[in-house]
């Protein structure tokens, strides 16, 4: 029997569980998908149950449980921070210190994990082993990558001490090369601007990235002069006088406001040119640092491949710049680059110590199975659900389903696409997606207003047949996990001509043959789709291309604003009925909105979902 190791990340944000068999990921999911609370930080009990059920095993069959960070080491960093901030950090001390030293506080997290696992009654609990936060990221970046050897960069907010780490991976070994430590953090710098622009820290960073193309980086020099000292090798320090995170529970205060022309934007308030320019500036400086880090990683390891993880690796614009710079021949990014992926990396670290080999090497593929590691519902289960609730539907074979959905998409319909195993990581990759026609300029606003119930300044992401990607995007390599931004190919770009449009109006201008996925700077967050990674999705894209000549679809996550991505057929049907999605493909079953009975709920569901 395979050696099974269970990984867990929890108690900060995006709790998750992952199961590896002889080091290969076989199941992984974030707790939010089960609890329906976005970024759920609680113990991932349901995700653990799922991982074990998926393999038909109990905890007694697992050789070890790996926790994604070291609470003892983290506490030492917290203490040093409290000492370093005194006497101005009482608020932080009052909030933080008791939560660590309480009888079942964070200092005893490993015990708590053991107790939580015991309370699940899933068999004898094996040893619980704490790994280091950045080691977990680095393992998740290198071990499942398709490379025999590579440089590895992990960049995030903070775990224990490290905030940026460089590693050298060879075979089954991963050696730390260098690190930058807290309080100096590129992730926290970006989060400070996220907070200052009125978005939520640890979730709104992608909005800052999406806002950047509207602005000019007029604050970039101020950031370089006052906030961050960047050495030529990419290492850096922040000037902590401008940040509040050592002293309190917020990111920025008066000193930051003085530097950037006034108080922070009120959340949900109007976006002004200042926010556009702030976003453009912090994005530019982040890219500069990441590029320098990548060059140093190349020099210090001599490797021609790079693996990335950590929250900053979700900055797909910066990833695109690294790839375009040609510093490395190829770059692989862990699809669950944030803390959820730490569960996977921690499990892999322990599996390697148990003797696991990277058996996927030589296949030319990574070991992530397209990141489709979540729950799956077969057609029998879906049929049971549909019959139990008397939901009108048609059952089709796979080819007919792809053809019917492609026809509806070409007619401008919006389709909920629920197929196979759920994605692990923050992106919908064609298993739990809402799809539309990218050729229609109206698709972006229709999908936002009628389905996501939001105004959005970001275009949606395109999914493209990998074999046609170069005709549509200036992409130097495949992007299976939608973590690379590339420019729309010149052949697809259109002249915008004279316009008086400014700010967010710019997004409404048709600037390519696929306007719904083209940002104002002609960039697009691309997912390349292969038959091997996702046959059903590939079949649909092929059918859409056969019908329209266009091998691209609009892909957005299957949820409404503030809600986690759907997990079950029930979640998908509820989202379908609450929104203006026209068609739902649940496995091989097709549900048309007109055929459905009227939908009613006792309360206003929109009030129950917090804003993101």
């Amino acid at each position: 029997m395979s050696d099974l190791v269970l990984g867990i990340s929890a108690f900060y944000h995006d709790s998750a569980s992952a199961l590896v068999a002889d080091g290969i990921p076989v199941a992984a999911a974030q707790e939010e998908r089960f609890s329906r609370r976005r970024h759920d930080a609680s113990f991932p009990a349901q995700a653990v149950r799922y991982c074990l059920d998926q393999q038909g095993v109990s905890l007694a069959d697992v050789s070890a449980v790996a926790y994604y960070e070291d609470p003892q080491l983290k506490f030492r960093r917290v203490l040093a921070t409290l000492l370093g901030a005194a006497p101005t950090g009482f608020e932080s001390f009052r909030e933080t210190f008791p939560s660590w030293v309480a009888p079942n506080g964070k200092l005893r997290t490993v015990n708590r994990v053991r107790q939580e696992l015991q309370s699940l009654n899933l068999g004898r609990v094996p040893d619980v082993i704490a790994r280091r936060h950045h080691e977990s990221h680095a393992m998740s970046a290198f071990i499942p990558s398709p490379y025999e050897s590579a440089a590895v960069l992990c960049i995030d907010g903070v775990g224990e001490w490290a905030t940026t780490t460089m590693w050298h991976g060879r075979g089954n070994e991963l050696r730390p090369v260098a690190e930058v430590r807290f309080p100096h953090s590129l992730g926290l710098l970006y989060s400070a601007f996220t907070y200052f622009c009125g978005f939520k820290v640890d979730s709104g960073e992608y909005k800052v990235m999406g806002l950047a193309p509207y602005g000019t980086p007029r604050y970039a020099q101020v950031i370089r002069d006052r906030l961050i000292d960047i050495k030529p090798d990419g290492s850096f320090r922040l000037d902590l006088r401008y940040f509040e995170y050592l002293r309190g529970q917020v990111m920025t205060g008066a000193a930051f406001e003085k530097l950037f022309d006034g108080p922070r934007r009120v959340p949900e308030g109007p976006l002004t040119q200042r926010e556009f320019d702030l976003a453009a500036s912090v994005q530019k400086v982040t890219e500069e640092v990441v590029l320098k880090l990548a060059r140093t990683a190349r020099e210090r390891t001599g490797e021609s491949k790079l693996c990335l993880a950590g929250g900053v690796a979700l900055n797909c614009v910066a990833n695109g710049k690294v790839i375009d710079a040609g510093i490395f021949d190829e770059v692989w990014i862990q699809p669950a680059a944030g803390d959820a992926g730490g569960a996977l990396g921690a499990a892999q670290a322990v599996a390697l110590e148990h003797g696991a080999q990277r058996s996927h090497l030589g296949t030319g593929q990574d070991a992530m199975s397209g990141s489709l590691l979540g729950p799956e519902f077969d057609d029998d289960t879906i049929a049971e659900f549909l019959h139990a609730h008397a939901i009108p539907h048609r059952r089709l074979d796979s080819a007919a389903l792809a053809d019917s959905v492609a026809e509806a998409l070409a007619d401008g319909k919006i389709v909920g696409w629920f197929q196979g195993r759920m994605e692990f990581g923050p992106r919908a990759l064609g298993a739990r997606s809402i799809l539309g026609d990218p050729r229609d300029a109206e698709t972006q606003s229709t999908m936002n207003l009628k389905i996501k119930f939001r105004e959005s300044f970001r275009p949606f992401a395109p999914a493209v047949l990998a074999s046609d990607a170069k005709d549509y995007f200036d992409l130097r390599q495949e992007s299976p996990y939608m973590l690379v931004v590339a420019e729309v190919a010149a052949a697809q770009q259109l002249e915008v001509g004279q316009t008086n449009a400014t700010g967010l109006e710019l997004l409404r201008l048709r600037r390519s043959t696929i306007p719904a996925v083209t940002h104002v700077d002609y960039s697009a967050r691309v997912q390349t789709v292969t038959e091997a990674a996702n046959p059903a999705y590939h079949r649909l894209l092929t059918a859409f291309k056969a019908r329209t000549g266009c091998p691209v679809l609009v892909n957005t996550s299957f949820n409404v604003r503030g809600e986690p991505i759907v997990n079950t057929p029930h979640d998908a049907y509820t989202c379908f009925m609450r929104t203006n999605i026209d068609l739902l493909a649940l496995g091989n079953f097709l549900l048309e909105k007109e055929a459905q009975p009227a939908w009613s709920e006792e309360s206003d569901w929109r009030e129950e979902i917090p804003l993101d």
């Binding site: 080491l73 030492r76 040093a80 921070t81 409290l82 000492l83 370093g84 901030a85 005194a86 006497p87 009482f90 001390f93 009052r94 210190f97 008791p98 224990e160 001490w161 490290a162 780490t165 460089m166 730390p176 090369v177 260098a178 690190e179 930058v180 430590r181 807290f182 309080p183 100096h184 000292d229 050495k231 030529p232 090798d233 290492s235 850096f236 320090r237 000037d239 902590l240 050592l246």
Partner: protein
């Protein structure tokens, strides 16, 4: 009551230790060093 205890703990113990430790060496290494070539640290056990 808890806040009072935390207040006393913070200002009678944490603050003096913090001030003294910073006199010797800032535990957070906040200063910028224009003459340094790098801020990289070689990983070691903490």
């Amino acid at each position: 009551m808890r806040t009072l205890l935390l207040f006393l703990l913070y200002y009678l113990i944490v603050t003096p230790i913090g001030a003294l430790s910073r006199l010797v060496r800032d535990p957070l290494k906040r200063e910028w060093n224009e003459r340094a070539d790098t801020y990289w640290i070689t990983p070691a056990r903490h």
